[in-house]
């Protein structure tokens, strides 16, 4: 129950990777897909921020709280994803808002997938398993 707070993250993550075939080729990605990926990352990060602002869990915690083990895994992944997001953002500027190389976009999506695995490990999608 303590990690139920993170359930919204599970909804958001993977969004960047839900792009259909119309916006991505083998080498480039539609700038709006890239923009959407950045927005999704910001949302994931915003939710993680709110999670970190929760009080830490204790043995007697009955309300929503922050699991330090989860935080320890989420924080570096967010920072790595942010670096990838910065590359996507830079590529958008370099292309003057046009299509960008797909590599940093895929990197960002890969890190988001890693985050998703962390949430799965903490049964975030099954909060009843406290």
């Amino acid at each position: 129950m303590k990690l139920a707070f993170l359930a919204p993250l599970a909804l958001v993550i993977g969004l960047a990777g839900c792009a259909g075939s119309g916006g991505i080729s083998s080498s480039t990605v539609n700038p709006n897909y890239a923009s959407a990926a950045l927005s999704a990352f910001a949302l994931v990060q915003s939710t993680a921020t709110a999670y970190l602002n929760l009080p830490p869990c204790t043995g007697a915690s009955t309300s929503i709280c922050r699991n330090q083990s989860a935080a320890a895994q989420i924080i570096p992944l967010i920072r790595s994803a942010r670096a990838a997001a910065a590359q996507v953002d830079t590529a958008l500027h370099v292309s003057n808002g046009g299509p960008i190389d797909v590599t940093p976009y895929n990197t960002l999506n890969g890190l988001v997938t890693l985050l998703q695995s962390v949430y799965a490990n903490y049964s975030i999608s099954s909060p009843k398993g406290n």
């Binding site: 919204p8 910001a42 949302l43 921020t49």
Partner: protein
């Protein structure tokens, strides 16, 4: 729940419902949506699962725009990311995970 939160929830729901119908084919429309998201993003996490799902829908709709991004849109994205990054680093530092390479970061001692 205060009036601002209720208003944001209502707006999210409305935008999420109308974007798929009208699309965001124009760069101007997409830019306005991104700018609005930038403004409400700090509050989204506290609004719960329904709000997140609405934002998810909005972002998915943004993907359908075929126009290139304008300089203003890029600036909005930059501002959104900067705001989100700063808030996260403040929380992470307070949680004992200071920004790597930051000087004077001492975890929760602030």
């Amino acid at each position: 729940m205060d009036a601002t939160i209720i208003a944001i929830q209502a707006a999210l729901s409305l935008i999420a419902s109308i974007l798929p119908e009208f699309g965001v084919a124009s760069s101007s429309a997409a830019g306005k949506v991104i700018a609005w998201l930038e403004g409400v993003m700090p509050s989204i996490a506290s609004l719960g699962q329904a709000a997140v799902a609405d934002v998810q829908s909005i972002i998915a709709s943004l993907q359908n725009s075929s126009a290139n991004l304008t300089a203003a849109q890029l600036s909005s994205l930059d501002a959104m990311l900067a705001q989100s990054n700063a808030a996260f680093e403040a929380a992470a530092t307070a949680d004992g995970f200071p920004t790597p390479g930051a000087t004077g970061a001492t975890g929760a001692s602030s």
